[in-house]
């Protein structure tokens, strides 16, 4: 009799556990669908479904995906870094600085084939610096990358000539029109090269996470760094590599942003670190590292883009900051409810 009751309890527990893990597995897709649904219904009285001006019209979707290129490029690598228990708050500034340098080079007549590798090398240098400060000099990640955030931003502001707000073409020295070729000009399905590059990067990162040693080591280091080191993983080397990858893709994102806006704005990447954090948290990566998924972060990134683009059609621009802050808090709460509970059980 007593055993029977324990048995039912155990079964019930198991059922609620599988339910919880199912919720955890799929909730993010539901959230994305819900948000898309809300924004496609909200103005249905004025425009017809999929029509011009509707949230789901082809134009609007293409615009959304084009604007999403930087965060799609960046957030996958950011996830791997957060899985390993580290953070890089300087990504936004690294992005701005690369955008400024890239635009400056194009403006001064560099061909794309030369500007591209220089920008990417710059990104690697950003990541290398962050890794050096955090892993070699052992400065707390948040502090080290907050300071490099301001350092990169400061350098970007210094590069832009006094009295100008960005690196842009003038009558005397026009910006070459082909700067748009990378992230604005349509290639296939109305989408630019940069979008397909971002998709490729995401695919590679998903494979890296699932199939390579780097993904496994990142999770091991995030789960318990000491244990990982005792079992022979060189945490300094691997996390340093992750910082470099994040820096590289930050430069890539900055290049896309510069190409999209055809100018180098030293503040264009501001807040990107928050967008990445929101995407990662929505994707269910644990705060303390150890588990997470690149693929789900991408869904999280799409959620943010839908929310910001969708809200712009509904409420005035000065509500944006509040909206994003609320999304961040909501992501934290969701993450807490779904990830934390499981750890306790």
């Amino acid at each position: 009799m007593k055993i029977g009751r324990e048995e039912t309890l155990r079964l019930r527990n198991e059922r609620s556990n599988t339910m919880r893990s199912n919720i955890k597995k799929f909730y993010i897709y539901v959230v994305l669908v819900l948000i898309v649904l809300v924004f496609s219904l909200v103005k249905l009285g004025q425009v017809e479904m999929f029509g011009r001006g509707h949230f789901l019209s082809p134009d609007s979707l293409i615009n959304l995906l084009r604007a999403a290129v930087p965060i799609l490029t960046l957030s996958g690598a950011f996830t791997l870094l957060m899985i390993s228990g580290y953070i890089d708050l300087s990504v936004g500034s690294a992005m701005s600085l690369s955008a400024v340098v890239f635009a400056l080079m194009i403006l001064n007549g560099f061909p794309f084939i030369l500007a591209l590798p220089i920008t990417l090398v710059l990104g690697v240098a950003f990541g290398f610096l962050n890794g050096l400060l955090v892993m070699k000099l052992r400065i707390t990640p948040v502090i080290a990358t907050l300071v490099t955030l301001n350092l990169f931003k400061g350098i970007a502001l210094l590069i832009v000539p006094h009295g100008l707000s960005a690196i842009k073409g003038s009558a005397a020295l026009p910006m070459p029109a082909w700067i748009n070729d990378y992230a604005r000009t349509e290639v296939v399905l109305g989408l630019p090269w940069a979008f397909f590059v971002a998709v490729l990067i995401i695919a590679v990162l998903i494979i890296i996470q699932k199939r390579t040693i780097l993904g496994k080591y990142a999770a091991a280091i995030g789960g318990n760094r000491t244990a990982a080191e005792l079992s022979g993983i060189n945490a300094v080397k691997w996390v340093w590599l992750l910082y470099i990858i994040v820096g590289l893709f930050a430069a890539c994102a900055g290049m896309a942003r510069a190409s999209y806006m055809s100018l180098g704005d030293p503040l264009s990447g501001d807040g990107m670190e928050l967008d990445c954090i929101i995407a990662v948290l929505l994707g269910g990566t644990a705060f303390s590292g150890g588990e997470g998924s690149v693929a789900k972060t991408i869904i999280g990134a799409l959620i943010i883009m839908c929310v910001t683009t969708g809200l712009m059609t509904v409420i005035p621009a000065f509500w944006q900051v509040m909206a994003k802050g609320s999304v961040l808090i909501a992501a934290v709460v969701l993450n807490h409810l779904l990830v934390r509970e499981k750890v306790k059980a």
């Binding site: 300071v147 400061g154 928050l274 705060f287 005035p316 509040m322």
Partner: protein
């Protein structure tokens, strides 16, 4: 060695005072008119708002937590205090219509809102154990978001009662020292006494050094952190009130980046995020170092665009120098 050896904290503070003296000497030598008494007073007082924020941020850093929401809270309390006491009579301009409350009530309500932000921080960090950096970046956006919504992305500065500008405009007769600077001085002294002489002050260090040990030895860690977060937001709120009164306006983009400056002066003063280490006095020294460096740079005709880069480099040098000095001392 009992009693003969000073603590590491005093050592670092002394070390940074030494750095300050050297920097000041160098600046006097190379920057024209740097040694004038008026400039020295400016160096000590110009950064009063950052130092006020630094008090809360320092104590939180000692417990191992960040507070990045202070800049947003300044903007929010500034805008709210204006909105609460603007005339309620209808006007063409939506930004000129407020709630028409008396000034005292307006201040009290604005400060309550500031403490509300602190309470949100505390709830997530002390109770749900969410990393402080993430949640305070979120409340930073929420607080600034409130400011932007109320001020519609601009600023509110019309139809204010005359009493609004009094607090920020008051100064000691015959001197250029403002009331705000006096408030800062009083708060620094109070924080110093709290840190060195009270049980709660010492518990802050215990929590930072080992929060599990603190809990096991009977310290209510949760309540302690909660009060520290609320105090930090309250200090930011007071700063916001004083600043908005000084400018007779509540702007939604006020105090951008102040949270970083507050963090920088704490770090310059030797506070360690590893926890349990640092002092308010050190933070004050750090603030003066920062203002010596920035004003020397301005005196050397560097463009103000240099400030971000300069702050970053100075901070890294300070962190590494402090670690080096401590290692030398141990070895």
């Amino acid at each position: 060695m009992i009693g003969g050896r000073m603590s590491n904290e005093s050592f670092i503070t002394l070390f940074m005072i030494g750095v300050l003296v050297v920097l000041f000497g160098v600046s006097c030598a190379i920057v024209p008119r740097f040694y004038l008494p008026q400039n020295m007073i400016n160096l000590l007082t110009n950064n009063w708002y950052i130092i006020m924020l630094g008090i809360g941020v320092t104590f939180l850093l000692i417990t191992g937590n960040f507070d990045m929401s202070v800049g947003g809270v300044i903007a929010m309390t500034g805008v709210l205090s204006v909105w609460f006491c603007q005339d309620a009579t209808a006007s063409q301009n939506a930004l000129a219509v407020g709630l028409g409350l008396p000034y005292g009530v307006a201040i009290a309500l604005a400060l309550l809102c500031a403490m509300g932000i602190g309470a949100i921080n505390a709830f997530f960090i002390a109770r749900l154990k969410v990393p402080s950096i993430i949640i305070t970046l979120g409340t930073m956006m929420i607080a600034r978001g409130v400011a932007q919504i109320v001020a519609q992305g601009a600023q509110r500065n019309t139809s204010l009662p005359d009493v609004f500008g009094v607090l920020g405009g008051l100064a000691i007769p015959g001197m250029s020292v403002k009331l705000s600077v006096l408030v800062m001085a009083v708060l620094i002294v109070a924080a110093f006494v709290f840190e060195k002489k009270t049980v709660a002050g010492r518990r802050t260090y215990l929590i930072g050094a080992n929060s599990v040990a603190a809990r096991l030895s009977g310290v209510n860690v949760r309540r302690h952190l909660t009060s520290l977060f609320i105090i930090s937001s309250l200090l930011a709120g007071i700063t916001g009130i004083l600043l908005s009164s000084e400018f007779k306006a509540g702007g939604s983009s006020r105090a951008m980046g102040y949270e970083f400056d507050a963090l920088v002066i704490s770090l310059l003063g030797g506070v360690s995020i590893a926890g349990g280490f640092g002092s308010v006095l050190g933070m004050f020294v750090g603030a003066v170092i920062l203002s010596v460096v920035t004003s020397a740079a301005t005196g050397l005709l560097l463009s103000p665009d240099w400030q971000f880069t300069l702050k970053g480099i100075v901070t890294f040098l300070a962190i590494l120098a402090q670690r080096f000095a401590l290692d030398k001392r141990k070895g």
